[in-house]
């Protein structure tokens, strides 16, 4: 594979090989000196047209742990409107010798556009409502750690499915690994269809017998846009202890963060032993190391 834009065209073998590399990287991160020379001489740019400190830090740390040089470019969307285009920005970085671009944007498709413009590798760091593939990879990695295998497992994703790049990427990735994905959310936040996922407005149906539950962040804009009523959402869709009882007794809880405590997820659950939220963050660095390694070093072979 040349870029990581989404999971269209990916095979199970490719995903598994990448997650195996992530396991090796996870071990690197447990050593006293958490650094390998794998990407020495490579330059990785994080190009964030939409701010996200967490994702950026995770990628930059991943690149540095493998001895890559890291450049960081943050663009205000206002400067884009003033005529400095995405293309100009990327071509400038290319002229400086960048090999890989981690691109984050509030509009779907920006990484796809970028891949048409630059010669280097493009990694989608989250684009609008479209995709967040490294998030899905770290979710899959975390689920595999907890469940052993995803074959035949039922994974419930709960919340604003329509606007969620995390849901979309997970619905593409998890079925590749054998899982069944159920997405539940209020009708105004459900898409008409989503390949790879079963959609339901019925939270209980999604949670029934689930092997794992992923809770999505609820954006304030959805209330302001008239799509939901907050109290009503909490009453009917918040993942609570009582509701989680429908899932398998050991089913772990995931959340891509940052969390609205006691909105989409009961705070007590977030802090419980079933929550894998901290592991997700830790695994994020290892998974991103694996992605960079596969795309940059794997490419030369």
């Amino acid at each position: 594979m040349r870029h990581l834009l989404d999971f269209q065209g990916w095979t199970k073998q490719e995903v598994e090989s990448l997650l195996d590399t992530a396991k090796v990287m996870r071990e690197v991160l447990e050593r006293p000196i958490k650094k390998v020379p794998a990407l020495q001489g490579f330059a990785v740019a994080t190009v964030f047209f939409e701010p996200s400190t967490r994702t950026r830090t995770s990628f930059e740390l991943a690149a540095r742990r493998m001895s890559a040089d890291v450049v960081s470019f943050a663009a205000q969307t206002s400067s884009l409107q003033k005529g400095e285009s995405y293309k100009d920005t990327l071509l400038t970085l290319e002229a400086m010798g960048v090999d890989a671009y981690v691109i984050r944007a509030d509009a779907a498709g920006v990484p796809h556009q970028a891949a048409r413009w630059v010669k280097g590798v493009v990694i989608n760091g989250g684009d609008g409502q479209r995709a967040h593939p490294t998030q899905a990879l770290l979710d899959a990695y975390t689920l595999l750690e907890a469940l052993g295998s995803l074959e035949g497992r039922k994974i419930a994703i709960v919340g604003d499915i329509l606007h969620s790049r995390v849901a979309r990427s997970n619905a593409e990735l998890l079925p590749l690994l054998g899982a069944e994905v159920f997405c539940a959310g209020p009708p105004s936040l459900l898409p008409q269809s989503l390949p790879g996922a079963r959609l339901t407005p019925n939270l209980e149906e999604a949670l029934e017998g689930a092997d794992a539950v992923m809770v999505l962040r609820l954006q304030r804009e959805r209330m302001e846009g008239g799509l939901i009523h907050l109290e009503d959402y909490i009453a009917r869709y918040q993942v609570t202890e009582k509701r989680l009882a429908r899932a398998k007794p050991t089913a772990p809880l995931l959340h891509p963060g940052p969390m609205n405590r006691d909105v989409e997820l009961a705070g007590t659950l977030a802090d419980s032993s079933r929550s894998l939220i901290t592991q997700q963050v830790q695994n994020g660095v290892a998974v991103r190391m694996a992605v960079l390694y596969h795309l940059l070093v794997g490419r030369e072979r």
Binding site: F49, T77, L80, Q81, G83, S85, Y86, K87, A105, D106, A107, A108, G109, V110, H112, Q113, D127, G128, Q129, R130, A131, L162, R165, R168, P191, Q192, S193, L194, P195, G225
Partner: protein
């Protein structure tokens, strides 16, 4: 004097020839040949009346970086257009007598296609206060429209129809319910949901057309003159059905479709290229079939380009920020001649009618037929195939969703009242 020898003639009434067409004094003098200093061989070519575009954004005044009258009207004649209606959503919008006169005067000086300025229905196109229809009409405005905006206030639209009716001015509407469309950038449906792009539902168009037709009924009841509602760039099956029903019920409504809605679908957005971002958005194949049916059965009166040039840098923004619009003046006819007539057997006289008499009727102009004594505003079409090459566009927007498509039917000669305004050497 020009003699075009051995050329086939095609207009709304049908095909004839080959004949030798003698042109002089701005008229067709004879279809039986004669003597002329300029003799052109029309063998294998088609001669048609000059085209009229009801819907082109020429961006002057205010956004000449995107297009201006000179480049826009040159693009027009290269596309076979002898007449063109410019949209008034310029900066500032064309909402005064002076602005209309200035455009007409400048276009006259350029001597390319004849400009029929569209004027704003409301001051500043703000949808609140009606613009002065009488003086606008006197200055030469061909229709009133707030295109680019969506006429949220039904009462203002009703008043606009009432005001325009006795002047014989059509009121053209961009029919989309803005509150249902919201920030949609492509057709709402499974593909938009898959691509994670905000959708613009087909119901947003249908809902607005349904409302506007009721507004028209109200204006009809209130007016002694006959108000005329023209629906711009129809894109959906349901929209076509609504216009068809309204026409059957005898309502004075006309409608147009664009080259892009007739040849592209939402599938084009799969590659996330803002080149394909247009309002209303590209729809499904089913919608496209319905538009074709509407062209055939007379529900749709005209093919209008909605030529909407922007700078390439703007079109390289992302799908949320890139502006809506596709430039198409130079290739509209070859595109539809190739895709509809050659590939799908769409009858040629009807296709020509949709570029000529159809839009002329919308403006209340007499039909233009190829006969002795007729005005010599003509286009000679060459069936030779050639690829679309945007780098050679006269328009400032030198990009195209159809780049590389091999098309036939390119205008080889365009005459405005017998005057050569475009000729391929």
């Amino acid at each position: 004097m020009i003699l075009i020898k051995n050329v086939k003639l095609v207009d709304a009434r049908g095909e004839r020839g080959p004949l030798d067409v003698l042109i002089g004094g701005g008229r067709i003098l004879s279809l039986e040949g004669g003597e002329a200093p300029l003799v052109l061989d029309g063998t294998g070519k088609l001669l048609a009346p000059g085209f009229l575009d009801l819907h082109a954004h020429l961006r002057e005044p205010g956004e000449e970086v995107k297009e201006d009258l000179a480049t826009g009207l040159l693009a027009a004649v290269r596309g076979g257009y002898t007449d063109l209606v410019s949209m008034p959503n310029t900066k500032p919008p064309v909402d005064t007598e002076e602005a209309v006169l200035a455009l007409k005067e400048k276009a006259r000086h350029l001597g390319l296609a004849r400009l029929h300025p569209g004027a704003a229905l409301t001051l500043g196109q703000e949808g609140k206060t009606l613009s002065p229809a009488g003086p606008l009409k006197e200055a030469g405005a061909a229709l009133l429209t707030d295109d680019g905006r969506t006429n949220e206030d039904a009462g203002v639209l009703a008043a606009g129809l009432l005001q325009a009716a006795p002047l014989g001015l059509p009121v053209a509407v961009h029919a989309e319910d803005a509150s249902l469309r919201r920030n949609g950038v492509m057709n709402d449906g499974p593909l938009a949901h898959r691509l994670g792009l905000p959708g613009n539902p087909p119901e947003a168009e249908a809902a607005r057309i349904a409302r506007d037709l009721e507004v028209l009924r109200y204006a009809l009841r209130r007016s002694k003159a006959r108000p005329h509602l023209h629906i711009q760039h129809l894109s959906t099956k349901r929209g076509v059905e609504l216009v068809r029903e309204a026409k059957r019920a005898g309502l004075p409504v006309t409608a147009e479709a664009t080259p892009h809605h007739l040849t592209l679908t939402e599938e084009a957005l799969r590659g996330f290229d803002p080149l394909f971002k247009v309002a209303p958005p590209l729809r499904t194949e089913e919608d496209q079939e319905a538009l074709l049916e509407g062209l055939l059965d007379g529900t749709l009166d005209a093919i209008a380009t909605d030529h909407a040039p922007h700078t390439l840098a703007e079109k390289e923004w992302d799908l949320l920020r890139a502006p809506f619009g596709i430039p198409s003046l130079e290739i509209a006819f070859p595109l539809l001649y190739t895709e509809l007539h050659l590939r799908r057997g769409f009858p040629l006289p009807r296709l020509v009618e949709l570029f000529t008499d159809g839009p002329r009727r919308v403006l209340g102009l007499a039909p233009l037929h190829l006969e002795e004594g007729a005005e010599a505003s003509l286009v000679l079409l060459d069936p030779k195939e050639a690829p679309v090459d945007p780098s050679r566009f006269a328009s400032k927007a030198r990009y195209s969703p159809w780049a590389g498509w091999v098309l036939a039917g390119w205008p080889a000669l365009t005459l405005v009242e017998g005057r050569v305004v475009h000729r391929v050497e």
